[in-house]
Symmetry: C2
Subunit: 145 residues, 2 copies
């Protein structure tokens, strides 16, 4: 390599990965303990819920949740099988699909938030000061463009 990264960069990077993994694992674990589905289900339910009119094109959803399309396609299959969402044909683009929530989907979203939100509070918020939160946010934002 021409120019290797500085020691502190590598350390921060490694910490970032480590924090992510442990936080994710704790979240998944607490969801499972409550007999709830994995976090990815929550992500898509939430994204649909927050979309204007609670409707969203599948490819937009894919961008939001950062999942490749082939992956999202099957994830939606599973959610649909559990009657948590619908796929409607899109009138403007006959290739496309529009995703909407079912009442069951909305209910599950709430139930998952009860657990997931708790994890965020205890494992994340509780360990940081206001200042930490703000500066963390600002720094992370820089990394997203």
């Amino acid at each position: 390599m021409k120019i290797p990264p500085k020691k502190e960069s590598v350390a921060a990077w490694a910490h970032l990965f480590r924090v992510y993994k442990t936080l994710l694992e704790q979240s998944e674990q607490e969801l499972k303990r409550a007999d709830l589905p994995p976090l990815s289900w929550y992500d898509v339910l939430l994204e649909v819920h927050d979309a204007p009119g609670q409707r969203i094109r599948q490819f937009e959803l894919g961008q939001k949740v950062l999942l490749p399309k082939y992956n999202l396609s099957r994830l939606l299959d599973r959610l649909q099988n559990e009657a948590l969402l619908n796929r409607e044909a899109c009138p403007e683009d006959r290739r496309g699909a529009v995703i909407t929530l079912t009442p069951g989907g909305r209910r599950l979203l709430k139930r998952m938030w009860a657990v997931y939100g708790g994890t965020i509070r205890e494992r994340f918020e509780a360990r940081l000061t206001e200042r930490d939160l703000v500066s963390l946010e600002r720094t992370l934002a820089k990394l997203l463009d």
Copy 2:
């Protein structure tokens, strides 16, 4: 939920996940473009390399790389198949395995770092100031205990 987390916590948490995912994906992608194996291979090679005497018990390795044992077991199978590392019997504990690198493993480690280090520099270090790095590090450390 009794007490929901604050808005800023949720936002920071979401950003953390997002940053992780994009960073990881970019890293994997650049490795693949260079015809190199996935990041997880690098992680274990590095951890073995950095261990005292370049030898490490399998279960310790598992803790370092944050992988469940059944997962690590098969990952090591793959690396061993490529002659990147050895599993020796552990003299002190006859159940245990000790992992060491082969010359090929050390070579691959280097080749992967050439690519991976570059990604860290360009996608991470380059976007942050010294100050950012330090405060990020400090904040993330709080989240790990």
